[in-house]
Structures are given as structure tokens and as C-alpha cells.
């Protein structure tokens, strides 16, 4: 007796997927912890770098000879080397987080991580080579 229609013309809700944690092989807090720790290290080193290269030099910036004198100082050289390592690590890890904001797949995220690791190693090679050249100029 009842009138029955197959499609009464109503909207239907899409099924909802339950949120599930990511399959992963690294500890997630580590990335954030590294970023914080390298960030604090960078803060000290960049302050030193800025003061040494901008504020204690008359005229604001070092000329060639002043740079060579500065970089060959036995305390400064390891600190500047450390600065290079830490600041590029911090910067590239930050860039990685920014890239991940574009909503990549897990595979693409892994690829980004590998590429950035290569960039970091290349930066190290370049920077250490440059420092080595300058040190020999004394």
C-alpha cells in the first residue's frame, strides 16, 4: 500500500575514515627535538657570527685580510665550522617541514628527505673546502 521510491532524492553522507597513526620507522619527537636543539645552537652561533662580523669591526664588515685573520683564529675556526653544520641542518630541516605543508604522499616525503640530505652533504663539502682554502691563505 505504501508508495516506495528507490531514490527519494536525498543527500547521503560519505563514510568517515577513522584517523590512524602513520606507519613509520623513526621516532616522531626526534625531528622536533633536533629542530629545537639545533635552533638553540644556531642562536648562540649566529649571535657570535653577527657580532664578530658586524658589530666589533670598524665600518661594519671585514675586508679580505680581516676575514683571513678572523677565520684562522684557532677558537673561531671550529666554531664557524660548527655554525655551518648546524645552521644548514636547521635550515634544511625547516624547509622540509614547509615542503611537507603541501600535503605530500609518504613516498614523496621520503624522496624530499633524501634530496635535502644530499643538499646538506653538498653544503658541507663546499663549506669545508672553502674554509680549508682560506686557512691556507694565512
Amino acid at each position: 500500500m505504501a508508495l516506495q521510491t528507490e531514490d527519494p532524492g536525498m543527500s547521503r553522507q560519505a563514510p568517515v575514515e577513522r584517523w590512524a597513526p602513520e606507519e613509520r620507522d623513526t621516532l616522531p619527537g626526534v625531528g622536533w627535538g633536533w629542530q629545537a636543539l639545533t635552533g638553540i645552537a644556531v642562536l648562540f652561533l649566529v649571535t657570535l657570527h653577527m657580532i664578530a662580523n658586524h658589530f666589533v669591526v670598524t665600518g661594519g664588515l671585514r675586508d679580505y685580510q680581516q676575514v683571513i685573520d678572523y677565520i684562522t683564529n684557532p677558537i673561531i675556526l671550529p666554531l664557524e665550522t660548527l655554525f655551518l653544520i648546524v645552521v644548514s641542518w636547521h635550515g634544511l630541516l625547516g624547509l622540509r617541514a614547509v615542503i611537507f605543508d603541501f600535503g605530500l604522499s609518504t613516498r614523496a616525503e621520503r624522496a624530499v628527505t633524501r634530496v635535502l640530505l644530499v643538499v646538506w652533504v653538498a653544503t658541507m663539502v663546499y663549506g669545508v673546502a672553502l674554509l680549508a682554502i682560506l686557512v691556507t691563505r694565512r
Binding site: 543527500s11 553522507q13 560519505a14 568517515v16 575514515e17 577513522r18 584517523w19 597513526p21 602513520e22 613509520r24 621516532l27 616522531p28 619527537g29 626526534v30 625531528g31 622536533w32 627535538g33 611537507f100 605543508d101 603541501f102 600535503g103
Partner: protein, 246 residues
């Protein structure tokens, strides 16, 4: 009761199957007590019965009428139109949630995340100072503060870019269970909080805490969660026999 002024409402409109959303303007007479929710229901009653919106309790207890008013996430039921101080009031649905129609968002994805915390609705009550528990009442209790409105998720800049982010409400719920486990093992949910798309994804904009209409302080809870996760020494949570207690 003739103390009314005309305010224009610019309302987000969308019906399933539409190509793009658009906005409609409605003039509404508002009085000193008129809320955005009152104005919207008046529009539906007298101007456009096709306007869809969510509402239930009318006093900031149910959390259904979360929406964006003049770019800020608010509960429409406690947002006084005159206090907004604008001649035109822009009303839009919450961000970061699928739009069902007009001002209605699909709360499915929100609850799919919120639910992983499995946080009970009632908690221990912080007693009214000086009071005791009545005979026959084993323990004084009250509802959790969170009213599951989705405002924090809409305000969160991370939820705005990362659809996989667990989100402030769910993380705050996990932290509530950590604070007050009520007999459950918190290990499994702490493992969820430890996910890269969970507690560590927060970038401390504190927009959620600022926007929350119910004093939950989701960002504060996320920070408490992190502290607790740090205290566990970055060990794999599954290796722990017992849930973390601060």
C-alpha cells in the same frame, strides 16, 4: 522594543552539486540582545527557508553553531551582533572541514579524530570551594569542558595545510585522559599523540586556545602532552608496560 537597527548579513551559500559557493546579502533588524544565531534563524524564518545551519542549545553548551563571523571562529549563539560593531556581518562556515551546505560543515572527520582519544564525557568535578560530596553520591562529577565545536580545528594554521593533522581538540582530549585516566591504560593513546601528525605537528600559534569558546586551552594541553612525551625519554611507547603519568 522598537530599539532595532538594520544590519546586513553577507552569508556563505553552497548547495551540494553547486560549482562554487557564493554569498547572499540579507538585511536583518537587530536589537540589543540579538545574536548572530538569532539573526540567521530570523533570515530562515522570514527571508529564505533554504538557509541551512547547525544549532541546538542556544547557550554555548552544545557546540553546534561554530562558524566564522567577520573572519573569526565563534559560537553564533553567544555572539552579539551589535557588539561586533560592523554594518555588514560576514558569516561563513568553519574552515578545514567539508562543507555540507551553506553554513553546515560535516563533523564526521572531526569526530573521527576526536574519537581516537576515547575520552569519557564526564570528569571529576572540581568542587565548589568548601563543599562536600552528598551522601549517596560516590564522587562529584561534571562534563568535560570541550563542546566539540570544531572551532579550534578551523582556527589552526597547521590543520589549514595538513589534512592528516590529528588536531587540537583530539590532542586536548588525549591529554585529558592522560591527566585523568579513569582506569584506562594511557599507553595506546600516548602512542597516537607521539605521531608526526599529532603532538609534534603543532606550531604553537595558540590560535586554538584563543578561539576556544569553552576554556579548553588545546595548545596548552598539547604542550603538556609533549612534556609528558619527553619525560618518557623518547622511548618507543609500546615498550612501556605502564601508561605515562606525570
Amino acid at each position: 522594543m522598537s530599539d532595532t537597527t538594520s544590519v546586513t548579513f553577507r552569508v556563505h551559500r553552497y548547495k551540494q552539486g553547486d560549482e562554487d559557493p557564493h554569498h547572499d546579502r540579507f538585511a536583518v533588524e537587530v536589537g540589543p540582545r540579538t545574536t548572530v544565531l538569532d539573526a540567521l534563524t530570523a533570515i530562515r524564518r522570514t527571508q529564505d527557508p533554504t538557509l541551512t545551519l547547525r544549532h541546538s542549545c542556544f547557550h554555548a553548551s552544545c557546540g553546534t553553531c561554530g562558524m566564522k563571523v567577520n573572519d573569526h571562529e565563534v559560537l553564533a549563539c553567544v555572539t552579539n551582533v551589535r557588539e561586533l560593531g560592523t554594518d555588514e556581518v560576514r558569516v561563513e562556515p568553519l574552515d578545514n572541514a567539508p562543507v555540507v551546505s551553506d553554513l553546515v560543515v560535516d563533523m564526521g572527520p572531526f569526530y573521527a579524530r576526536f574519537d581516537v582519544a576515547e575520552r569519557p564525557l564526564v570528569r571529576e568535578s572540581e568542587l565548589v570551594p568548601g563543599s562536600h560530596t552528598a551522601a549517596g553520591v560516590p564522587q562529584s562529577m561534571r562534563y568535560e569542558d570541550c563542546i566539540e565545536c570544531g572551532i579550534c580545528v578551523s582556527a589552526c594554521p597547521i590543520a589549514g595545510t595538513d589534512p592528516a593533522y590529528l588536531g587540537p581538540a583530539a590532542l586536548a582530549a588525549i591529554d585529558r585522559v592522560r591527566q585523568e585516566p579513569r582506569g584506562v591504560d594511557v599507553g595506546p593513546i600516548m602512542r597516537l599523540a607521539d605521531d608526526p601528525h599529532a603532538a609534534w605537528r603543532c606550531h604553537l600559534a595558540f590560535e586554538c586556545t584563543e578561539a576556544c569558546p569553552s576554556n579548553v586551552d588545546p595548545a596548552g594541553h598539547i604542550m603538556q602532552l609533549r612534556r609528558s612525551l619527553f619525560a618518557r625519554g623518547w622511548r618507543r611507547p609500546s615498550a612501556e608496560p605502564q601508561g605515562a603519568r606525570r
